[in-house]
């Protein structure tokens, strides 16, 4: 590990770096913190013209934050960005665009009911002498642009009628139309077929030949050899190392991405593993995932690893009835159950901590108390429609104390709590329902290290009490530290189930990214 890293160049930060005139874009000592998390810590990075620089790292490593800083979406707390040696300030995405930096977003930003040409030239439409939009000129310019990039799309087509791949081409053409020198691509191939990927790579080569610099975020090792000139690896908001793509092999990069001491972070307790509680056979959801089968036993923690988009969350949502499965069978304690809604899943003893606290978890404007009690009111703490106030407040206070939730009182609106405490409130919501099966989707995302450790202890304790835990996570150390077995998913399929003993970061990454 050390040998691999020392073999790599580490860009020298500070004034010395300004001297390099061949540098198109330079990021020096950038830092960005969000409440409770340092997303980027003293990160430096260089992009040379006419090259593709790939950024690698686990989810949460800081790649996306860095890109958003370069694209003017976030403002860094410290550090400097230089374009061709000159320091620039990029307070808004528009400022970045005008400086020659364009980002092609993961979630596409086109207007579906407008034509391709209108989307590309929006805000800069060619005008005729009456001051009206000159559609003829707009079409011509679009055709010229497309010819230059070897893209074959009708400029008059409505964007909503295009395939995802074609929309991406339009996004790229739009970025090029700004005469941008720096193009940022955030996992551009995640929704493309193999042939479309080849086309994209051809376009990238054209752009390289024209002297553009491309920052390329990817999770796919196989793409590095195909497009990247240089690779930089990030981990936990820090720059780990970089080097020419040709010199770095896959194993080295994986080790750089995940290398981390497990230490005392994961206090896994010995739990007695009992009878199977949940058995899933051939579970599938049309077009999303298929043929997912596994067994979950009492007291067991089954980790689910896989890249974002591999179908992990979809399986959890199907199990819990949020988006019911279209194929397969679910058995709980040997009995076949049909789960068509969250209420049915809860009746079967399940609880589901969702991936996105704010979107699908919290009632932000409501007090902590209401946030905690909402799931359990379905069948307990209610008499003749009335909430038994005293009993529920007592139960919530007990969980508040046990989980050490920091809040002035239970009446505080949930939005005033820190991320870690919000997460604990949601955990309390589910523990109040006394579940036998606990599904956790990214249980420690976006929370600080201290709260993480507390949540790990709690998960361990619950397993010891006989709760069956299904834990989805993008953090491999978390998966390895906590799980008894590890199920790995890739593109909607289970690619393997590993025992604790045989699993390591490399073996998981191999199954998760082929």
């Amino acid at each position: 590990m050390t040998a691999a890293v020392t073999a790599l160049r580490r860009p020298e930060p500070g004034p010395a770096a300004t001297a390099s005139a061949d540098c198109l874009l330079e990021v020096a000592n950038v830092r960005k913190a969000f409440p409770g998390v340092v997303a980027l810590d003293d990160v430096s990075f260089r992009l040379r013209p006419g090259t593709v620089h790939a950024l690698m790292g686990e989810n949460g490593a800081g790649k996306s934050t860095l890109m958003k800083i370069i694209a003017g979406i976030y403002t860094p707390d410290a550090g400097e960005i230089r374009l061709r040696g000159k320091p620039v300030s990029l307070p808004t995405p528009l400022a970045a665009l005008e400086a020659g930096i364009a980002m092609i977003h993961q979630e596409l930003n086109l207007m579906p009911f407008m034509t391709v040409a209108e989307n590309i030239w929006i805000r800069r439409e060619p005008k005729n002498r009456f001051g009206l939009v000159d559609h003829g000129a707009m079409r011509r310019r679009t055709k010229e642009l497309f010819a230059q990039l070897a893209i074959d799309i009708d400029p008059e087509a409505e964007v909503r009628r295009l395939t995802i791949a074609n929309r991406q081409m339009v996004e790229i053409a739009k970025a090029v139309s700004y005469n941008s020198d720096v193009l940022i691509m955030d996992e551009p191939t995640s929704a493309l077929t193999e042939r479309e990927v080849d086309h994209l790579f051809a376009i990238i080569r054209t752009l390289k030949a024209a002297g553009k610099g491309i920052v390329y975020i990817t999770h796919k090792m196989s793409e590095l050899a195909a497009v990247a000139d240089e690779v930089s690896v990030f981990r936990d908001g820090r720059f780990i190392g970089s080097g020419p793509a040709a010199e770095l092999d896959r194993e080295t990069i994986i080790r750089m991405m995940v290398g981390r001491e497990l230490g005392q972070m994961y206090p896994k307790l010995e739990a007695e593993i009992g009878a199977p509680v949940l058995a899933v056979e051939g579970l599938g959801l049309d077009g999303v995932f298929a043929d997912v089968s596994f067994e979950l036993r009492a007291g067991e923690i089954l980790g689910v690893a896989g890249l974002v988009g591999s179908g992990r969350t979809n399986v959890a949502e199907a199990l819990f009835g949020v988006t019911p499965a279209t194929a397969g069978a679910i058995r709980i304690k040997g009995e076949a159950v049909r789960i068509g809604s969250p209420a049915q899943a809860m009746a079967a003893g399940m609880a589901f901590l969702t991936e996105d606290r704010k979107e699908t978890g919290l009632f932000l404007t409501l007090p902590v108390l209401e946030n905690m009690q909402m799931a359990v009111l379905r069948d307990r703490y209610v008499k003749a429609g009335f909430v038994t106030q005293g009993a529920i407040v007592q139960a919530c206070q007990a969980w508040r104390t046990t989980l050490r939730i920091k809040t002035p009182d239970l009446q505080e609106p949930a939005l005033n709590l820190s991320g870690g405490n919000q997460q604990k409130v949601l955990i309390a919501r589910w523990l109040l329902t006394k579940p036998r099966i606990l599904i956790l989707d990214e249980p420690t995302r976006g929370i600080d290290v201290g709260a993480k450790a507390e949540i790990y202890r709690l998960i361990s304790a619950l397993a010891q009490e006989g709760v069956a835990v299904l834990m989805i996570s993008s953090e491999l150390p978390e998966i390895l530290g906590m799980s008894d077995r590890i199920m790995v998913m890739h593109q909607g399929r289970v690619t393997g189930i590993l025992d604790r003993g045989e699993a390591d970061q490399v073996s998981i990454m191999r199954l998760a990214s082929r």
Partner: protein, 340 residues
Amino acid sequence: MSATQQVSAPQIEASRRFRMPVEVGILLVLVGICVLFEALGWYARGQSFLVNPQRLLIIVLQVSIVGLLAVGATQVIITSGVDLSPGSVLALAAMVSATFAQESSFSRIIFPALTDMPVVVPLAMGLLVGAAAGLFNGTLIARTGIPPFIATLGMMVAARGAARAYTDGAPVSGLQPAFTWIGGGSRPVILFLVVALIFHIALRYTRYGKFTYAIGANPQAARVSGIDVGRHLIVVYTIAGLLAGLGGIVMAARNGSGQANMGTGYELDAIAAAVIGGTSLAGGVGRITGTVIGTVILGVMTSGFTFLGIDAYYQDIVKGAIIVAAVAADQYRQRRRRKA
């Protein structure tokens, strides 16, 4: 300071903060408006605005029917929906209940078969019409995904048409005294306050109330928490419809007749009362106590302007300004909360 904090920290009771009820702000606005009218009253007319029991009753009496609708509107808005139909549903319910309440001795009977019914029949019919309209609204919104604004706009237009078509536009008079008794004296005020109390308790202390706030605050989270969001929305809109039906009964009883143009514009007054009272159009926030105060503010303004002899047109201008100011205050609160 820090020492006391350390000492009291482990005790849960001691760490409880005093929170000012949300209604205090809006109550101060009400007091301010009253004081203003009192001062203007002495200045312009040489007499007191408030020290007049008759006027105080009228202030609430004239808004008690809007108040009934506002209690329904508050619950709908808490779910982050909106109901534009209660004014029209009120008219339809007034017409239907009135035709069941006519005396056979009256000269212009609409449906002779329906005269001299026991008084519970017109009451039940009025409530039924209202609840049915609300059920239809709720079902449309919950099951087809049509936005509440559109679904209830359709009901607003259709129910008004139905109210007119029901008797070909003819008013329904000659109602039996047992029916008109409901609208007499201060009874509409009492009814309004009782209904407000019932739903105040329902929103604060029952599962129905908790789920209503949850759906408004975050429908996806509500669903994942096992709440049947669709079914709950149907219940909320049905309750709003039921209260519009009750409003129709009270209005027909008070006027001694059912008329198809009754309650025109009441839906907006009801929404205004809720919003002035602190209910957030973003959902998840609102209380019946605030709505009652908001309703009274509308009543005080109408009475106050009349008392000062100011034309009704100007009343509407000021009312419009107050509604916008209330929403602006709400948004300011939200923005400050988001920053915190």
